[in-house]
Amino acid sequence: MSDASTFTTRSIQIAFVAIMIGVWYGVTTTGSVTPLFLPPIDAVKSAFIRLVQTGQFWSAVRVTLTTIAQAWLIAVVLGILVAYLVTRSKFLVAVFEPVIASTFAIPLTLLFPLFILFFGIGPNSKVAYAATYGFFPVALNTIAGLSSVNEHYLRAARSMGASGFDTFRHVLFPAAFPVILTGLRVSFFISFASVLGGETLSSAAGIGKNIALAAELMEPARMYAWIVFVICITVTLNFVVSAFENRRREY
Amino acid sequence: MLDTGAERPVAVSVRNVTQRFAAQGAAGTVVALNDISLDVRRGEFVCLLGPSGCGKSTLLNIIGGLFDASEGSVTVAGQPVKGPSPKRISFIFQESTLYPWYSIRENFDVSFKFQGVPKAEWEGRTRDALAAVGMSRFIDHYPNQLSVGMRQRVNLARGLALDTDIILMDEPFAALDEQTRMVLGEDLSELLAKTGKTIIFVTHSLAEAVFLSDRIFVWTARPGRIKAIIEVGEAHPRSPDFMLTQRFGELRNECYALLRDEVRQAMSLERDAGAPASAGA
C-alpha cells in the first residue's frame, strides 16, 4: 500500500471518529435524544473527572485488573498444559480437539450461575468464569500450533541427535510460537470481556459492577464515563498488540 | 511436407504497441512494451520467448482485449480489438482457471454460458473436449480432486471446447513438472494439427518453444522488444523424435544464444529494483 492511500484511509478513519463525536454533540445539544440514554459530552467528562478524584475509581480498576490477570494466567497455564498433553499423540488430538472446539461454540456464560453458586459473588467466581472462557483459545491454538509443525524439521532434529527436550525447545516451540501467540492474544481479550461481563452480571466490586450500578441508579453520565474509559483501554490495548505483532512479523 | 504458411492470411496483427504502467513506490512509469509490431498468420503456432518481466504476457492480454495498450493498435481478422472477443479468442492461463467450487462439468457449462453457446450443445462439446485429452472419466470431479497436471489438461480441453479460431496461451505448462509438460506438449501438437487453430503461446522454456512453434519471437529484456524471429519449419503433429534431431539442438542453441544476454540484463534489472519484478511478467 502506498503512502498516499494510507494517508487517505487514515483520514477517513479519523473523520469517522470525529463524525461520531460530532453526532453525539449534535443530538445532545439539540435535545433529540433524552439525556437518560445519551448524556451530553460535558456531563460525561465532568462525571469522569469526579470519578477519578474519588478513591472508588482506582479500587474498582484494581479489582478488575487483578481479576483479569489471575484469570488469564490460569487460562494460559492450563491451556498450554492440556495442549501439550493432548499433542503427545495424533490419536489424542483426534479424540479431544473436536470436543474442545465444539464446547467453545456453546455460550459458556451458561456456566456463570454455577460459578456464583460455587464461589459466591466475590472476585473468585469471575476468575473461574473468565479462566474457563480464556482456556479454550489457548488450548485450541496451542494444539493447532504443536500438531502442525513440519514433520521434516522434527526428523532433521532427530537425525542430528536432539533429545526430546531439545526438540521441544529448539524446534516444536519456536515453530508453533506464532500460532500460540495468537491464542494468548485472543485469550486475553476474552478473559478481559468475561471479567467485565461477570462483574456486570453479578458482583460486589469492579468496573462492570460500577457500570451496572450507575445504570441502576439512573446516572447515565457516570455510566458513560466508565464505558468510554473501557473503550479507550480496549482501543489502546489493540494498538499496542497489533504494533507488537507487526514488529514480530518483520523477522 | 513443409508449410511456412507465408501465403496464408494474417489472423492477428499488432502495430506499434507500447505499454506503460504506473511504477510502484516511486513516481513515473515503467515501459513494459516498446513499439511492438508483429503479424501472426491463420493456423500458425507462434511462441513468444523471453526473459521474465519482458512484457510477453502483457502483449497477450492486449491482443485478447483484457488490457488496453497505451499506444498502438491490434487487429484480429481485420477488426480492431476493443475488449474481450469471446467468440474469436480464448485464453489458457498459467494456472488452471477452473473454478474450484464447480465440478468439471459445471466449469464447462459456466464457460459456455459466459460465451453464449446454446444450451443444447453444452453436453456434447464437453464430452468431446474431455475425450480429446483423455479425461472423460473425471467429468463429475471437482478440480481439487485432480492433480495439477490433470487439472491443466482439463483446462486445455476447456480452452479448445470454446472453439475459437485463436487461442492465447500464457505459459500454460509452467506449473507442471518436465515430464508432464512434454506429454502435454505432444498432445497439444497433435490436437492442433487436426484443428488448424491460430495459437500464440508465451513460454520461458527453450525446448517447449522449439518443439511447438512454427515461428519463435525472441524478446529482449524490459522494455520488451522483439529481437529476432526464428522459423522452425517442421510439420505438425511433431513426434518426440524431433527433439533428438540435430536441427532441434541447433534451433535451441540459437534461441539460447539470443536470450542469454537478455536474461542477464533482466536479472540485473531485478537486482537494481531491489525485488523480483512481479508486475506484468
Binding site: 465444539s102 456453546i106 456463570f112 450461575p113 516444536l172 456486570t200 | 474481450p84 459466459f114
Partner: protein, 270 residues
C-alpha cells in the same frame, strides 16, 4: 514427541488388530471417557460432595423432569429465549450481509472501514448491557437487540474478508469468455465468498447465543435469569444444572444446524 512418532504407523494402518477403523476408535474413546467422567461425577455426587453445591447426574436428570419441564413458567422462559435467539440471528444475518457487502464491495471501502469494524468488534460489548436495558427495557426487545449487537460483527467481518483475495486470473478468465458483471458476481464472487460467509454464520450463531444468554442472565427479575438466580441463591444445584443443560443443548443443536449447512455448501473444498 516420540509418542507422536510411534503413533504414526498405527494411524496409517488403521487398527487392523482391533477390527475397528481409526474413526470408530476415536469416537469410541471419546464416549468411554465421557461415560467414565459421568460415572465419576455420579459416585462423587452420591458420596463426598456437598449436596448444596453439587448434584449427581441422576439428580439432575430427575430435576429436569420433575422441576424444569414440569413447570410451565420455566418451559415458557426457555421457548422465549429460543425465539429471541432465532429473531436476533436472522436480523444479524440480514444486517451483517447488508453492511458487509456495502463495506466489502470496493477495495477503498475495505481499506477505510474494515479497520473501524474490527476495532468495534474488539470492544467488550458486555459493558453496554446495562445501557441496552436502559433503552430497550427488560423485555424480549432488549435481549434480541443485544443478541444482534453480538451476532452481527462476525458476519460483517467474514463477509468483508470473503470478498477479498478473489484470484485475479478467475476474473480475467471470465472476462475473456465474455462473462457479464452479473455472471461474474454469481459464478465467481459469490462462490468464492461462501466458505468465509459460513464461518461468519457459524461464529454469528455462537455470538448471538452469547448475547441473548448474557442479557437473559442480567435481567434477573424474569425469564431464565430469574430462575438461575433463585436456584443459585437457594443452593439448589440439581434444577440449575438441568436448566443449564437444556440451554446448552439448544445451543448445540443450533450450532450443528449451521454446521450442516456449511458442509452442504462447501463440499468442493473437501
Amino acid at each position: 514427541m516420540t509418542a507422536a512418532q510411534a503413533e504414526l504407523p498405527a494411524h496409517r494402518a488403521p487398527a487392523a488388530r482391533h477390527g475397528f477403523s481409526y474413526a470408530t476408535r476415536v469416537r469410541l474413546t471419546r464416549w468411554i471417557i465421557f461415560a467414565g467422567l459421568l460415572l465419576a461425577w455420579e459416585v462423587y455426587g452420591q458420596t463426598l460432595a456437598n449436596p448444596r453445591l453439587i448434584s449427581p447426574p441422576s439428580g439432575v436428570l430427575y430435576a429436569l423432569f420433575s422441576e424444569i419441564l414440569a413447570d410451565g413458567r420455566i418451559v415458557t422462559a426457555i421457548f422465549e429465549s429460543f425465539r429471541e435467539v432465532i429473531v436476533a440471528y436472522v436480523a444479524s444475518i440480514l444486517l451483517g450481509l447488508a453492511i458487509g457487502l456495502g463495506v466489502g464491495w470496493s477495495s477503498f471501502g475495505r481499506r477505510s472501514f474494515f479497520p473501524i469494524v474490527l476495532l468495534l468488534y474488539a470492544i467488550p460489548q458486555v459493558i453496554l448491557l446495562p445501557l441496552f436495558v436502559l433503552i430497550f427495557g427488560i423485555g424480549p426487545a432488549c435481549k434480541i437487540a443485544f443478541g444482534i449487537s453480538h451476532g452481527v460483527f462476525p458476519i460483517i467481518v467474514n463477509v468483508i474478508a470473503g470478498m477479498r483475495n478473489v484470484n485475479p486470473l478467475y476474473l480475467r478468465s471470465a472476462a475473456s469468455m465474455g462473462g457479464s458483471a452479473v455472471d461474474v458476481a454469481r459464478h465467481v464472487y459469490f462462490p468464492h465468498m461462501v466458505p468465509s460467509l459460513f464461518t461468519g454464520l457459524r461464529l454469528g450463531m455462537t455470538m448471538t447465543l452469547l448475547g441473548v444468554i448474557l442479557a437473559e442472565l442480567y435481567v434477573s427479575t424474569q425469564g431464565i435469569g430469574y430462575w438461575t438466580k433463585v436456584y443459585a441463591e437457594n443452593f439448589d444445584p440439581a434444577p440449575l444444572l438441568a436448566l443449564i443443560a437444556v440451554l446448552a443443548l439448544m445451543a448445540i443443536i443450533l450450532n450443528s444446524l449451521v454446521r450442516v449447512g456449511e458442509r452442504r455448501f462447501t463440499r468442493w473444498r473437501n
